[in-house]
């Protein structure tokens, strides 16, 4: 498979798409603001000297609600897509997704523990309930991934196939533990758990945004440096080693970046499926399998896709809101089926 478009054209196109998504995400919402007000409020947020008269509402909605939400969408979408590329590169399988190493199921377990356990202890204090939930989800994802990685190691070597199977087993195990928590949950916590599992960018605030932004910046800067190594890995592990790639180190880095990135994304926005699987695919269809293009392009495409999905989530049922996981799966699942069917033909 070769590229359909030149990398430069692709990057310009995706950057424009991402800018468009960002602008729409700032400009559209259940509260309809006049375009001029949006522009002036945006200018004020950028620190330009614009008169503030009559802009209180626009500034509040833009600065306190839409901007943190947009930043959250950009970070979550980008980091999920990037982790998807890392996992598909690691497993050398285009059907791999970040959930394979157990990070999603571990995060779900952590979240279920926090939601159900918290309410069993008489309810977490309102002020840091969400933080405890995020922290537990993050640590759960990290913990299960570490275990999967540990199980995949033998004689100082990481066996990817063993890791895959260990991931499946631990996902099943976490699933049953989540099931147990679900059984113990009362009606109210059950609803919270269900909604968490569907993900949402709703209620984003700067305080909860910074950790994710830091992690995703780190991952987004680090992984593209491993593009050549990932390209070599496409040939096979021993071939990559002969080409001078530190394969064990690479595997460790890929798993660690995925665990950190997906863990932080899930902790901030709940479970959002299919972005990590579908976006790398889409980009590969257009740009070919070269990771030097695939990695950065996936960040842009993932961020744009998530922002567009969030627009649907917040506008479709306004003033109510759809969980974004429903929207991404609704787009992602048919696309996945299309890939399957097309591959067979």
């Amino acid at each position: 498979m070769t590229s359909l478009v030149k990398p430069r054209t692709l990057f310009i196109g995706l950057s424009l798409l991402c800018l468009l998504a960002t602008w729409l995400s700032l400009a559209l919402g259940p509260v309809s603001l006049p375009l001029l007000d949006t522009l002036r409020a945006a200018a004020r947020l950028l620190g330009l000297p614009v008169a503030a008269d009559g802009l209180e509402q626009a500034e509040l909605i833009l600065g306190q609600i839409r901007l943190p939400r947009t930043l959250l969408g950009l970070a979550v979408g980008g980091v999920l897509a990037l982790s998807g590329v890392a996992m598909q590169g690691l497993f050398r399988n285009p059907l791999a997704d970040p959930g394979l190493v157990g990070v999603s199921s571990g995060a779900a377990l952590g979240a279920a523990f926090a939601i159900v356990g918290g309410s069993a202890l008489g309810g977490l204090p309102e002020a840091f309930g969400p933080y405890v939930l995020s922290l537990c989800a993050f640590l759960g994802g990290l913990g299960v991934t570490a275990l999967v990685y540990r199980l995949g190691r033998r004689n100082g070597q990481t066996h990817v196939a063993t890791m895959l199977l260990a991931g499946i087993a631990l996902t099943a195990l976490s699933g049953s533990a989540v099931g147990l928590f679900t059984y113990l949950a009362d009606d109210a916590t059950l609803r919270t758990l269900t909604f968490w599992n569907l993900g949402s960018l709703n209620g984003a605030s700067y305080a909860r945004l910074w950790p994710l932004l830091l992690v995703s910046f780190g991952v987004a800067l680090w992984l593209p440096r491993r593009a050549r190594a990932l390209n070599a890995l496409l040939l096979g592990e021993s071939e990559a080693a002969h080409l001078g790639v530190d394969v064990e180190g690479l595997k460790r880095e890929l798993v660690f970046c995925t665990a950190m990135g997906v863990g932080a994304a899930v902790a901030a926005a709940g479970m959002i499926g299919f972005v990590g699987l579908v976006v790398p695919h889409l980009v590969r269809l257009v740009a070919g399998p070269d990771h030097r293009v695939l990695l950065p392009a996936s960040v842009l495409a993932g961020a744009s896709l998530l922002l567009f999905a969030d627009l649907v989530a917040r506008l479709a049922l306004a003033p109510a809101e759809l969980p974004i996981g429903i929207v991404t799966a609704f787009i992602g699942a048919p696309f996945f089926l299309y890939l399957l069917v097309r591959g067979r033909a």
Binding site: G29, P30, V31, S32, Q57, L60, I61, Q64, I65, R66, E126, A127, G129, P130, Y183, D186, D187, A188, R191, T192, F195, S200, N202, G203, A204, S205, R208, R314, L317, A318, P319, A320, E321, P323
Partner: protein, 292 residues
């Protein structure tokens, strides 16, 4: 003399203030929580409501209002797009970051307790009355409610002298085929007690039971609280699917009752006394029939 002028000025200021306060009562309301929306309507505030959540299903006319979604998953911008001056809800309303955003936008956010007991309801109604500018009506409403519940308690005491309390099970959410039985420390348990029934379930919370252990408890009365199961046909279908269930005393004697599931969430609502009365009549058929 000087003091006098000051006094007059103070009085005038207070009067103006008073007048201003009446004008400042919130006129555009968004309500999240079934029972709460019912009380707002009962206090004459229905015309002020500009949006409700998905649990606000009564009175019927509320369903025509814009829906802000499920009370635990509100969207800040969605709520703000209705330009409300006040958002009222139970402590189940959330998530907290969204409430903070709504508060920051200058909307008054008032939280009410959903604990099902009379002192809580009294406090809630007084608070709502103040916010709606109908304190007297709120006090009257509460008094009437209390009297209704007192009468209900007296009725239960009376019939229990003549007949033993029947063993009851309350089933929830059986639309998917799985029966959830209401245990201790649930609103349903409290409701059964108030109606004079003896809840046979001894676990805490709502748990799914196997049909077999359900039949083993052999309830005298079954109460279904599920929107999907209202109507004779749906119930007949359930018994057909679970033959063991139809061998219980309740099914044999035809003592299967319905309860509006919205009564089980969000605290005490205005429709509760009538429902309790109906349940009691079903629990003690012989005695109730003889009563005038």
């Amino acid at each position: 003399m000087r003091l006098n002028i000051r006094f007059v000025a103070l009085c005038v200021a207070l009067l103006i203030n008073q007048g201003a306060r009446a004008d400042e009562l919130p006129q555009r309301w968004v309500s999240a929580g079934g029972a709460l929306s019912e009380w707002v309507s009962a206090l004459g505030g229905e015309s002020k409501l500009v949006g409700v959540d998905t649990t606000s299903q009564h009175p019927e006319s509320l369903r025509a209002l814009p829906s802000i979604g499920y009370q635990r998953q509100l969207s800040a911008e969605g709520v703000l797009s209705l330009r409300p001056q006040i958002l009222v809800g139970t402590e189940e309303m959330g998530p907290p970051p969204v409430l903070a955003q709504i508060r920051n936008a200058g909307v008054q956010v008032e939280l009410f307790s959903a604990t099902p007991d009379l002192p809580t309801l009294q406090g809630n109604l007084r608070h709502l009355g103040q916010l709606l500018g109908s304190e007297a009506q709120a006090a009257q409403l509460f008094q009437g409610y209390q009297q209704q519940l007192d009468r209900q308690a007296a009725r239960v005491r009376e019939v229990q002298l003549k007949q033993k309390a029947p063993g009851v099970l309350l089933l929830v959410g059986s639309s998917g085929g799985k029966l959830m039985v209401a245990g201790k420390d649930t609103a349903a348990d409290w409701l059964l007690q108030q109606a004079g029934g003896r809840n046979l379930a001894t676990h805490g919370g709502y748990k799914s039971f196997s049909v077999e252990s359900l039949a083993g408890l052999n309830p005298e009365v079954l109460v279904f609280a599920d929107r999907a199961l209202s109507g004779e046909e749906a119930r007949a279908a359930l018994f057909k699917e679970n033959p063991i269930l139809s061998s219980t005393r309740a099914a044999r004697d035809g003592r299967v009752m319905e309860l509006d599931p919205t009564l089980l969430v969000g605290g005490l609502g205005p429709r509760l006394p009538q429902s309790l009365e109906k349940l009691t009549a079903g629990f003690y058929p012989a005695v109730s029939a003889r009563a005038p």
